[in-house]
Symmetry: C2
């Protein structure tokens, strides 16, 4: 197994650390969508969603292809799709035991 640079890894994982980003990932998991479609899906605001999209792209989780005035975003590849599925599998397994982690760190 090739060595993974820790900084790269954190950049990647950062993609999953915000609700809006995770919702975007779910929204484009099975089919590519334009920014406005995503904005609609999530009932978000354009600027905000665009910023999260830029982040997800930087994290390597999604790719965007431009077509005229639209940009179509989709999950990068099948591995990333599998990873998203895996989250749900693991969660299904542990969800009932998850204790409160309200303060997230304390």
């Amino acid at each position: 197994m090739v060595k993974i640079d820790s900084q790269t890894k954190m950049k990647f994982l950062h993609g999953f650390s915000h609700k809006t980003r995770v919702q975007i990932l779910e929204s484009v998991k099975e089919e590519e969508k334009t920014v406005s479609q995503i904005v609609n899906d999530l009932n978000g605001n354009q600027s905000n969603i665009s910023q999260h999209l830029a982040c997800l792209k930087g994290c390597g989780l999604i790719v965007g292809k431009k077509d005229g005035k639209y940009v179509y975003y989709s999950v990068r590849n099948q591995l990333v799709r599998d990873l998203l599925t895996m989250f749900d599998v693991v969660l299904e397994d542990i969800q009932n035991d998850i204790a409160y982690c309200e303060k997230h760190i304390d």
Copy 2:
């Protein structure tokens, strides 16, 4: 597939969103360790590590078993272990293309 509550999901994913927490997960992935062993492994400070451990526990990613004055932490189960491995598999695949995401959101 059972429905995953979005709040629970975010709590879970939050566990992976900080370098120290990821390092802790890696440190206890294959063998359980006491807090002080982890503090040593990571060259961290006790209070800080304790706080991250509490977070990881709250996120459902690790479990701690108390034995006398020691607490042994380990990854919750094989599924979580698999998920950690999967991160590396996916990363190996995309690591070279990951563009900068320096600002993480902008």
